[in-house]
């Protein structure tokens, strides 16, 4: 049964990890929030109970499909905001609104307060979870569901949600309910992933006057983007890339005589590139990896989808030519 698991996990989550300062992984969010709230807000009487819900739900959905993981990220983003504003609006956040929640003991994810809105969006994907939650099964959710049921019908008198706040702080302490708003899972999942994707896209929106392609370098921790339209030939592209990626080659220089971090210059990188340490390649629109420099520049910008600064050792078949080509270009 999933319920016992759920409660164990709540217990475990509270004791388990020491939250790191600012983690970006969603699985640590629960702990991060907890820490944040404890520091910034009131001594978290009820709030810590809340956070494990994030942990719970995330663990429950650790096994589900990728869409959920995407939603996890979404939770992370939104949840961060909530964590803070919860802390700021400490009064209602911790006293009344969640007063009733805490009465419910370890509430099932049905009643996760504001902070875990999206999280509860997920439990519906696992009907079994719902059934156990709604079904007043073991331990405290029994009372939780019951009191919620009783309070729900009273809504016409108390329009704010089942948490029955005395304060009119309804927008804040919204208890999420299974299957509400009535949106099908497929749509929920797709929209969640579309939102994240569109946010990513928005950052690098290509217009017609620019042609951004990703540039990766083997061994570098992150990628860059360059606008091919801003260059008119291979040489300019090459210099730009050298400038961009020089920082990553610090520490990879094996040549003696190089001063080290302070003295590392673009020329060192160039030496690296031309010294068959690295080879500049690109993926064309057919998906093939090609050596940069073979075709006229216009043709290259037309077909280049992304760039990769490859370690020479990987570009074995290309390496000799790479060396010649690079040397001939510079």
């Amino acid at each position: 049964m999933s319920t016992p698991l759920e409660h164990d996990y709540i217990g475990l989550a509270e004791k388990k990890k020491i939250p790191s300062s600012s983690s970006s992984s969603s699985s640590e969010d629960g702990k991060t929030f907890k820490e944040t709230e404890l520091r910034l807000g009131l001594p978290g009487s009820e709030s810590p109970e809340r956070k494990p819900l994030s942990g719970v739900s995330l663990s429950l959905f650790g096994n589900l499909n990728n869409n959920n993981n995407v939603m996890n990220h979404h939770v992370h983003v939104a949840g961060a905001k909530r964590g803070f504003s919860d802390a700021i609006d400490a009064k209602w956040a911790f006293s009344d609104a969640h007063g009733s929640d805490s009465d419910l003991g370890k509430p099932s994810a049905l009643f996760s307060p504001r902070g875990s809105g999206n999280v509860v969006g997920k439990p519906p994907l696992d009907p079994k979870t719902i059934s156990t939650q709604q079904g007043n099964s073991i331990n405290t959710p029994a009372s939780a569901s019951q009191s919620i049921k009783e309070s729900k019908p009273l809504q016409e008198k108390n329009p704010q949600l089942p948490a029955t706040n005395e304060h009119a702080s309804a927008p804040a302490s919204k208890a999420q309910v299974v299957g509400w708003p009535p949106i099908r899972s497929f749509r929920k999942n797709t929209m969640a992933s579309n939102l994240t994707k569109n946010n990513d896209e928005a950052e690098g929106k290509p217009g017609f006057g620019c042609l951004y392609v990703k540039v990766s370098m083997d061994g570098a921790p992150y990628l860059r983007k360059v606008d091919l339209k801003t260059y008119s030939n291979y040489k300019e592209l090459s210099s730009a890339l050298e400038k961009m990626f020089s920082c990553f080659t610090i520490g990879q220089c094996n040549s003696p005589g190089l001063p080290g971090k302070d003295g590392l210059s673009e020329s060192s990188l160039r030496d690296l590139l031309h010294g068959s340490e690295y080879v500049l390649t690109y993926e064309d629109k057919d998906g093939d990896w090609m050596l940069v420099g073979d075709v006229p520049w216009e043709m290259f910008t037309d077909s280049c989808r992304r760039l990769r600064i490859m370690k020479g050792s990987e570009a074995i078949g290309l390496a000799p030519r790479a060396v010649e080509k690079s040397k001939s270009q510079n």
């Binding site: 809105g117 519906p124 989808r305």
Partner: protein, 589 residues
């Protein structure tokens, strides 16, 4: 009735040559069947079958399509006994609230046994359309083997199958014209099911695989599209890039309905213009959907195709108001529009301005659980649409709050609503200007919209709303209620007042046994009743079951729940008796 009178006369004049071997019909059966066979409407056929025995028989022999709104209301044996010549079956399974996870998994509605019976009785079956049924790969394989003339399969909101099942259909259904998979819970196992269509296969007209997550074999798809010259509907999934879309459009400029793949590849100028010309070559396009992940800069490639569009489904494309406005300028012929609420009120104003022929609007929330300053659409956007689109008769509107006055204005502008579904996403949310309940809003709807067939209500609502509904909504067939009402009286008003009510689905309302039992006489004229998280008890349900033996009264029981409460009740009429396949958590009383 004239026919029956004649029949009596005939009996008295045996020389009459209107008599035939079957009895005393005024027409030979063959003629009667021919005539009645031309009736397409289900309701007409139903009426015709009640006239007399001859007409009943003529109708049942000539019937080719059958629609079963609740798969448990009839058994396959009864169905096949009455209608021997069926070619097309439409079946709906689970209660609608299963879409929102209110029905546990493995509840039922499995198609398999139906297929087994059909294989014997309807070997010439051509079409199967299923909604909210459980369909396994085994069943799909069985289907593909058992019906040599099989042509069309449409699965909406079904679960239980994978792309292996699709592969079986592709491989074995030689005459397939339609493969339509919508919003199902499907296990997307491999990308090779498309390769299972044989090289010689060319009959496909409808292909919809938009919900699949994984990549498909594009090569196989392109070849399939190329050789199926009658392809009219093609709905792609998000793995298809813009470049690939262009290639497909090049192969199939005759398409009428297109669902794009992802709309956000990084295109070069040349690719962009190729795509634009591909769209302008599609002269027959009337429906556009998909646009998974949109880069708004590329929307202009659609402009050449927009003038003829009647249905635009952007409900997975979170555009902003500027993007949608620029697009809608070109879409003067739109009748149906589905959008995401990221277009906000300003986007809806553009709808009102540019789409005067609009009949149906659905606005979905981008982020239903967002808090704080979450945007979206409001009452002013709703009003703006109603001012510009006077033909509006179908609306599905998700918003965070609403006012009574706005709804009243909307229905005054558009009195012809047949479907009015307003979802105020905060349960129990009052009118945000006056803090009053939203009773008057729905009162205005039912008073003004005499043709109203379907209504979904939300917000803070008292029994008054239900009084209004019972009093005015005389054509209402479907009512969805959540977090509303004050007492049993509310539900009673509806049960007693709405003569055409067929489907009533209620959740989280203070309606108890008195309300449930007030509909005793009513439920046999309805398809079904759903009540969840209300105040109904097991005893109330038992009483209902006892009084009305031709109803199936089912309670979905959760583990560990209070034995006396009936948290989820599903009541429906049936000629098949109680379910034989009910899982342990479904109690039939």
């Amino acid at each position: 009735m004239e026919c029956c009178n004649k029949r009596r006369m005939m009996k008295e004049s045996p020389e009459s040559n209107f008599m035939n071997r079957r009895g005393s019909s005024c027409f030979p059966d063959e003629v009667l069947e021919r005539v009645i066979g031309m009736l397409k409407s289900r309701k007409d056929r139903s009426s015709v079958s009640l006239v007399c025995k001859e007409w009943y028989n003529a109708e049942r022999w000539s019937r080719r399509n059958v629609f079963i709104g609740n798969c448990y209301s009839v058994s396959p044996e009864i169905l096949t006994r009455r209608f021997p010549n069926i070619r097309s079956v439409t079946l709906k399974g689970k209660p609608r609230f299963s879409d929102f996870n209110l029905v546990p998994a493995n509840w039922g509605a499995d198609i398999h046994f139906w297929l087994v019976v059909f294989a014997k009785k309807y070997p010439f079956l051509e079409e199967l359309r299923l909604k909210r049924m459980t369909v396994t790969d085994e069943s799909l394989k069985f289907l593909a083997r058992s019906f040599p003339n099989f042509k069309a399969i449409s699965l909406q909101n079904c679960d239980g199958f994978s792309t292996d099942g699709l592969a079986a259909i592709a491989a074995d259904c030689k005459n397939l014209t339609e493969l339509d998979i919508q919003e199902n819970v499907i296990d997307d196992k491999n990308d090779n099911w498309l390769t299972c269509f044989p090289e010689s296969f060319t009959s496909l007209e409808v292909l919809n695989f938009s919900i699949l997550h994984n990549d498909v074999n594009f090569d196989a798809l392109e070849k399939l599209v190329t050789r199926c010259k009658s392809l009219k509907t093609l709905k792609l999934n998000k793995s298809i890039t813009l470049e690939q879309l262009q290639r497909l459009l090049f192969r199939a400029p005759q398409l009428c309905e297109l669902g794009t793949g992802s709309f956000s590849q990084e295109l070069t100028t040349q690719q962009y213009s190729e795509l634009e010309s591909a769209f302008s070559n599609c002269k027959n396009l009337n429906t556009l959907s998909g646009l998974w992940v949109v880069t708004p800069q590329y929307l202009p490639v659609l402009y050449p195709a927009c003038a003829n569009l009647t249905f635009l489904n952007f409900s997975y494309a979170p555009l902003d108001s500027d993007d949608i406005a620029k697009l809608l300028v070109h879409c003067a012929n739109i009748r149906r529009l589905w959008v995401v609420d990221t277009i906000e009120d300003k986007g809806l104003e553009a709808v009102g301005t540019h789409c005067p022929l609009l009949e149906e609007l659905r606005v979905f929330p981008a982020d239903p659980f967002a808090e704080g300053d979450a945007r979206g659409v409001t009452d002013s956007g709703f009003i703006a649409v109603s001012q510009g689109c006077r033909n509006l008769h179908y609306v599905l509107y998700f918003c965070r709050h609403m006012t009574n006055a706005a709804v009243a204005t909307v229905v005054q502008n558009c009195p012809d609503f047949t479907h009015f579904r307003l979802c105020i996403m905060n349960p129990g949310q009052p009118d945000y200007r006056t803090s009053e309940p939203m009773d008057e809003a729905f009162g205005a709807v039912v008073k003004t919209c005499s043709k109203l067939q379907r209504l979904a209500i939300s917000g803070l609502l008292t029994d008054l709303t239900f009084e209004y509904i019972g009093k005015y909504a005389k054509n209402l067939e479907t009512l969805s209620v959540a977090f509303a009402g004050s007492s049993d009286w509310g539900m009673q008003c509806v049960l007693e007042g709405c003569p055409k009510l067929r489907k009533l689905e209620i959740r989280d309302c203070p309606f108890g046994n008195a309300a449930l039992l007030s509909g005793l006489e009513k439920y046999e004229s309805m398809r079904s009743l759903w009540m969840s998280d209300c105040k109904v008890t097991m005893n109330g349900c038992r009483l209902l079951a006892k009084e009305m033996p031709r109803l199936n009264v089912e309670v979905i029981k959760e583990d560990g729940s209070d034995d006396s409460q009936a948290e989820r009740v599903y009541v429906y009429r049936s000629v098949a008796g109680p379910r034989r396949d009910a899982p342990s958590f479904v109690l039939t009383l």
